[in-house]
């Protein structure tokens, strides 16, 4: 019977060009295999040290290795010296991106964020559809990635008194913004603070969102690229986080920072759109980080259970089966969001929210299952537990994501069905 099934599969589906929508194309799978090999060679040995100590030089070294391998220029078009080909995007959407992120997170989710924050910082430039700004910064990024200090981007929206507010359209109306830009000859002057900015202290360029008008708040939000070393721009405290410790979260301080006109991303007042569309594109990636970390915890547990002879136990089979099912459901949703273009905001929110929730549940249950060893550091599950928790928080808490999912129904007057 099995032969009949495989014959049917070959003759009736494969030959007709039918493709399993839940299976990555061969090119993406090849990319995954190369990436795994690289991670094993270049990152696996550093994970403990990256988790335990904040060493900027060490984090920079990991970035340098990634830059040389081409991981920091995946979004930079080939014409500017990067790896991005439009045809690939038409073929796979963001699938390659979420596979990349999941694999990085399976090795170390802090490293996934270290690289991912760079992508996040670059996205508003693409979404501005302004060739001048792309031409201004992308060749420099590509060139620097071949040198000693990669030109890393960071994405700065969160403010000390406006976290979820700047990720939630409803909440944004009452947001207490503290970062403002005012017009000056030939550019703008920025004042204010941003907090929890991933890679903010390592970045060469920061995409900063600032309001032009206090009364209009985020409606007047405008994005700017601020270079490291610009007078008045400094890095404040580096946060001591529960997990994802390979990726520093920095406070950024702007005191009368002059930004020239040609560093503005998109027109004035376009910041809110750029912010929302950036997050719509990146949220499936957050889901992929959660799934990568949880998958790694699952694989460690499976190997241990096999070694201990637990796999013949029905309770173990039931627990592992249930966890695997939920992670696979999360991956399905992340992949669906990744191949949907233009991104569906509600689907992006679902993918981030569901994948991070099931990943958190998975890590928690795997620690229970392997107790008491699973809570000890060398086992590796406790790191996944600490790391995954952040995926339920950043880019909008999962509470905000649920409201985001409900948003289209409000636009329809609240009467439309899902």
């Amino acid at each position: 019977m099995a032969d009949v099934y495989s014959w049917l599969g070959r003759k009736m589906f494969a030959k007709k060009g039918w493709r399993d929508p839940l299976k990555a194309p061969r090119a993406v799978e090849r990319f995954r295999a190369d990436l795994r090999e690289w991670l094993q060679r270049e990152v696996a040995g550093d994970v403990d040290r990256l988790d335990q100590a904040h060493e900027e030089a060490h984090q920079m070294e990991v970035l340098r290795k990634g830059a040389r391998a081409g991981w920091l220029t995946l979004l930079v078009p080939t014409r500017y010296g990067g790896e991005f080909r439009l045809m690939d995007f038409f073929r796979h959407g963001l699938l390659k991106g979420v596979v990349f992120t999941e694999e990085l997170a399976a090795a170390c989710s802090g490293v996934a964020v270290l690289y991912g924050a760079h992508t996040l910082g670059l996205l508003p430039l693409f979404l501005s559809f302004d060739p001048k700004i792309l031409k201004k910064f992308l060749p420099e990024v590509a060139k620097s990635c071949r040198g000693e200090r990669p030109g890393l981007f960071a994405f700065a929206i969160t403010e000390p008194s406006a976290g979820s507010d700047v990720e939630d359209p409803e909440g944004s109306k009452g947001a207490r913004l503290t970062t403002f830009a005012r017009r000056k000859d030939g550019g703008y002057v920025l004042n204010g603070r941003k907090c929890f900015i991933s890679g903010g202290n390592l970045a060469e360029f920061v995409t900063v969102f600032a309001a032009l008008d206090k009364a209009r708040g985020v409606e007047s939000w405008t994005a700017f690229v601020v270079r490291r070393g610009t007078p008045g721009f400094s890095v404040g405290r580096i946060e001591d986080k529960m997990g994802q410790r390979a990726s520093p979260a920095a406070e950024l301080i702007f005191e009368d920072v002059f930004v020239p006109d040609d560093h503005r991303v998109g027109p004035e007042g376009d910041g809110w759109r750029l912010n929302q569309q950036t997050l719509d594109l990146s949220r499936p990636g957050v889901g992929a980080i959660a799934l990568g970390a949880a998958r790694s915890a699952f694989e460690k547990t499976l190997a241990w259970a096999r070694g201990q002879g637990h796999l013949s136990d029905r309770l173990w089979q039931h627990e592992l089966g249930d966890i695997a099912m939920k992670l696979e459901a999360g991956r399905t949703l992340v992949w669906r969001a990744a191949v949907t273009f233009p991104p569906d905001p509600a689907l992006s929110a679902m993918s981030k929210c569901f994948a991070s929730d099931v990943a958190m549940e998975a890590c928690s249950r795997l620690i229970d299952l392997t107790a008491p060893f699973g809570a000890a550091r060398p086992f590796g599950l406790e790191k996944a537990y600490r790391d995954v928790k952040l995926t339920q928080i950043y880019e909008g808490t999962n509470q905000i994501q649920r409201l985001k999912i409900a948003e289209p129904w409000l636009a329809d007057g609240g009467g439309a069905s899902a």
């Binding site: 979820s164 001591d240 008491p372 699973g374 000890a376 550091r377 928790k389």
Partner: protein, 355 residues
């Protein structure tokens, strides 16, 4: 001094301890240097009456009174409460059997000097000059500076609680949480016990005593988990009452109110079940259910409290991430929740209703 007077004095002491002594020590107790931090803390705990001294032993044998002490300490630091838990649980068989005098260790009851071995049974054999103990202890848990361990061993006709030295145990592991304590992996035991460090009973008597001790220990853990969750909830409530979001106080946001209400329901249910379990320590099943329920609820409440604070909740400064790590580690003590539930589900014992 009456038992009530001793209890009142200790309760007052614990209040003072958590206000004055613990807050400044939390960061060191939650670090790989926790063994040194514990060495500094132990005499302070003893000064506040939390050691196992002759006047407080009767109190420790009263499960609900001890639960109140552990709960009060856990409101400040679940790691310290868990180290005391391991210590008290290790003393319990001797206290309940009225045989504490036979087991004075070199530490003389210094807080955290004795660790707890969950589950597992060593082999016991009578020899001419004492008792021979052999077998392997999978894991011991106790304060990061504990030097001794209470273990349980059985022969064909007798059961024994024995205090042994921790020498030879593996290097302590760094945990996800409760870092004032340490897990110590694999300890091979094969030596003769001579002298007063052993309590031997008939096999039936020893098994009944062991079951009662384990039930009390599970009830205490449930209390610690509920107290840790309650403290996380209070932190989230305080934040929500001060933080503006979306043009209003976070505490006015219906989503956050629902989250906090749900957390409060879980904490109170866990605390009630823990208290109920400690009234029925002859039962093996109810304390098991209470431990699983309270630790699961405690974990969920701490994770929800972090959500309430958003990014701030994830940062060490706010203390909630430590509460969550502690809560998850509590789930793993004294038997994994998955296996404890399967064990309880297979037991024919009926749980008596409350009251």
């Amino acid at each position: 001094m009456t038992q009530e007077a001793v209890f009142d004095e200790v309760a007052r002491s614990v209040g003072q301890l958590t206000r004055a002594e613990l807050p400044g020590r939390l960061a060191r107790l939650d670090s790989p240097a926790s063994a040194e931090a514990w060495q500094d803390l132990a005499p302070v705990l003893a000064r506040y009456g939390l050691d196992v001294r002759p006047e407080t032993r009767a109190l420790l044998a009263e499960p609900r009174a001890t639960a109140r002490i552990l709960g009060a300490v856990a409101q400040e630091c679940a790691g310290v409460a868990s180290a005391l838990w391991a210590d008290y649980a290790a003393w319990l068989p001797f206290l309940l059997a009225g045989a504490e005098g036979v087991c004075e260790s070199d530490g003389g009851g210094c807080p955290g000097s004795v660790g707890y071995m969950a589950g597992g049974t060593l082999r016991l054999a009578r020899e001419a000059d004492g008792w021979r103990l052999s077998g392997r202890i999978g894991l011991a848990f106790g304060a990061s500076a504990s030097r001794e361990l209470t273990v349980y061993a059985e022969s064909e006709s007798e059961g024994a609680f024995v205090r042994i030295a921790m020498n030879g145990a593996g290097e302590p592991e760094d945990n996800l949480g409760l870092r004032a304590c340490r897990l110590r992996p694999g300890l091979e035991v094969d030596h003769t016990v001579v002298g007063p460090k052993i309590l031997v009973q008939s096999l039936d008597g020893a098994r009944v005593l062991r079951r009662r001790c384990e039930s009390i220990a599970l009830g205490w853990l449930a209390t610690i988990a509920a107290a840790n969750g309650r403290a996380a909830l209070r932190g989230a409530q305080a934040y929500a009452g001060e933080r503006y979001q979306g043009g209003g106080l976070l505490a006015q946001n219906p989503v956050i109110r629902h989250l906090l209400g749900s957390a409060e329901m879980r904490v109170e249910a866990a605390a009630c079940l823990a208290e109920h379990a400690l009234e029925q320590t002859e039962s093996g099943k109810l304390p098991t259910l209470a431990k699983v329920f309270a630790t699961q609820m405690g974990e969920q409440v701490c994770l929800d409290a972090i959500q309430c604070l958003g990014g701030y909740g994830y940062m060490r400064d706010y203390g909630l991430e430590k509460r969550a790590r502690d809560a998850k580690t509590l789930c793993t003590l004294a038997g994994s929740n998955v296996h404890l539930l399967a064990e309880a589900g297979g037991s024919a014992e009926e749980v008596a209703p409350r009251g």
